[in-house]
């Protein structure tokens, strides 16, 4: 399918979501392009996870619409959508003793590959997250960080046959990881966006990580977007004071345009 290079990967128009009577998101408008890492930021309860969930039809919309490559997300064929849009869950509670390889193979579900192609793809993706040596291990015996990377390999497998630049949604992908792994996962996300034209949308808590790895930051407060743009434009002392009620020291990383906060 031919897509105009200007068609955004994800488009959110006048989106509102309520849970019970409480408005969680109010009048959100966003256009997200492929080739970028967009970080959703905000204090707890700001609505960033709900926003991410609304992209993948996990929450009912109160008003507005979400378009994936110009087409309403609800009118997409399920399997076709799964090939272009994948979600890395925050916790994957898989208790049955599948092998690591078998978990990644689940990502083949929406794809049309023969057995050999599927096997090769799974091996490649395990290589990509540096877990090829654990291929035959039982998933429940892995550490939290390893589980997270297995899930990432599964999700990347799912996106291997996308007809458009794939959309990758990451819900707090670094919460279970140690420092080195956090940077590794975010560096991978950035290289997918910059080198393979993925649209990466990531919910993060750590503002410095967001500043270093994201091209665009969307800051939410009480379900509204309060700031949206490059890290150097969004992570200003004023915004941080207003949203997080915290007085930061902001310095620029030497030689770069990324603000660092203390």
């Amino acid at each position: 399918m031919q897509t105009d290079s200007l068609t955004p990967a994800l488009e959110v128009n006048r989106l509102s979501v309520r849970i019970g009577h409480k408005p969680v998101l109010t009048d959100i408008n966003l256009k997200l392009q492929p080739g970028q890492v967009t970080a959703l930021l905000g204090p707890n309860g700001a609505g960033k996870s709900t926003l991410l969930k609304s992209f993948c039809q996990e929450v009912a919309l109160d008003a507005g619409e979400i378009k994936v490559y110009g087409k309403n997300v609800n009118s997409w064929d399920r399997q076709l959508l799964a090939k272009s849009l994948a979600v890395l869950p925050q916790h994957a509670s898989l208790t049955f003793p599948f092998k690591v390889r078998e978990v990644v193979e689940m990502g083949l579900y929406p794809l049309t590959l023969n057995q050999q192609q599927g096997k090769r793809l799974v091996d490649e993706q395990l290589e990509q997250v540096a877990l090829a040596h654990l291929k035959e291990r039982s998933y429940p015996t892995l550490s939290g960080g390893e589980k997270q990377r297995v899930q990432l390999a599964r999700v990347l497998t799912q996106l291997a046959q996308s007809e458009r630049p794939p959309i990758l949604l990451l819900d707090e992908p670094t919460s279970a990881l140690d420092l080195a792994q956090q940077h590794r996962v975010l560096a991978l996300a950035r290289s997918l966006a910059h080198e393979q034209n993925y649209a990466v949308i990531v919910v993060l808590h750590d503002l410095n990580q967001a500043s270093r790895y994201a091209d665009r930051l969307v800051v939410l407060e009480n379900g509204c977007i309060v700031s949206d743009g490059k890290p150097s434009d969004t992570l200003t002392p004023e915004t941080i004071r207003q949203v997080w009620h915290y007085d930061p020291v902001v310095v620029m990383e030497p030689g770069k345009q990324t603000p660092l906060l203390f």
């Binding site: 993948c56 039809q57 996990e58 399920r78 399997q79 076709l80 959508l81 799964a82 090939k83 849009l85 994948a86 979600v87 869950p89 994957a92 509670s93 898989l94 208790t95 049955f96 003793p97 599948f98 092998k99 078998e102 978990v103 689940m106 990502g107 579900y109 929406p110 799912q158």
Partner: protein
């Protein structure tokens, strides 16, 4: 990987050997060779000979339907157990434990006592409907957005089984002698006196659930990731769940109608298979079918030879073997149940 290679042929061999034992053992001892000839005579138009007419008669009318019924019901129950465990994402789900079998038995009992002129197919139908309703109720009771809770699942099972037990008790009170015998047999589970039309019905159920379940094997694997994750993989989760629940109800309903409540096959068999080949449904389902068939046929041989010339109901045998297994399982899983 190695496990999988030897498991298929060895289970197949076990299946053939158990079947031959099942047609050979009984009050009239028939040698395995003669039994084999008799089965061949029955299966093919060839006349292999060397079978006495009375032996052929016993095999055709008693042993063969009995063996086939045990094999079919064992295979159906084991697969339904495996699918329910996948569906509930919980290795403790089983048609017996979560009350589906009791529900189906109540359906059958209602039909036996209140509509005695309804005939066998009516009984099967009402067992199926009652099984379906019970499955849906238990599923609703135990489900929450974060999955199904084991505690709720077991409690719902207890409540449903108690309710069904009370219903059956009431019907027992109302029943005449003829219906009473049927009812008792129903609750204990028995393959004795297997009739050909139930054999055929069970074989049809077996073909249907095996075909459909195996088609859904990959989807069932994905479902174990969690419902949201399965949805993100492009699965129509609600449709899949409904389809599998209906199929389980058909399988369990027909099994209960044909043999009464036979517990623990659906729990124990998928567990044993998972221990050997892992949880992948592509392997788990067919291997469970084979092991379930062999085990129930074996249990039935035990049922008719342990207290010969009398007979034990086979449900008693599977419960005697299965209940301790269930307790061990509970103990092993204790830390995960809360």
């Amino acid at each position: 990987m190695d496990n999988r290679r030897w498991l298929w042929p060895s289970l197949l061999a076990a299946l053939v050997i158990t079947s031959l034992m099942s047609v050979s053992i009984g009050p009239l001892q028939i040698s395995p060779t003669v039994s084999f000839h008799a089965v061949m005579n029955w299966l093919t138009p060839l006349d292999i000979g060397s079978v006495a007419p009375h032996e052929q008669l016993v095999i055709n009318n008693v042993r063969l339907p009995r063996t086939l019924l045990a094999l079919a019901v064992g295979a159906v129950l084991a697969q339904c157990g495996a699918v329910m465990q996948g569906l509930f994402r919980n290795p403790l789900a089983d048609p017996g434990i979560i009350g589906v079998s009791s529900g189906a038995a109540l359906g059958a009992a209602i039909c036996i006592v209140l509509i005695p002129q309804g005939g066998e197919y009516m009984v099967a139908l009402s067992a199926f409907i009652a099984g379906l309703v019970t499955t849906l109720v238990v599923y609703r009771l135990a489900s929450s957005p974060s999955g199904t809770s084991v505690v709720l699942l077991l409690l719902a099972g207890v409540a449903i089984a108690a309710l069904a037990g009370a219903g059956i008790g009431l019907l027992t009170y109302m029943a005449d002698d003829m219906a009473l015998r049927d009812l008792t047999l129903w609750q204990l589970g028995s393959i004795a006196g297997a009739q050909w039309h139930y054999v055929i019905l069970s074989l049809i159920a077996l073909a249907l659930v095996s075909w459909q379940f195996n088609r859904s094997a990959k989807a069932l694997n994905a479902l174990l990731l969690g419902e949201a994750e399965a949805r993100h993989l492009g699965l129509d989760v609600d449709k899949l769940k409904l389809r599998l629940i209906v199929l389980c109800a058909i399988g369990v309903g027909i099994s209960v109608a044909a043999t009464g409540i036979i517990g623990f096959i659906g729990l124990v068999v998928p567990h044993l298979v998972r221990m050997m080949v892992g949880p992948d449904h592509k392997q788990l389902l067919p291997l469970s079918a084979m092991l379930g068939a062999a085990l129930l046929a074996l249990a039935d041989i035990g049922a008719r030879s342990l207290v010969a010339p009398s007979e034990l109901p086979v449900g008693l045998v599977t419960a005697l073997l299965g209940a301790p297994f269930f307790i061990v399982l509970l103990l092993k899983q204790r830390h995960r149940l809360v």
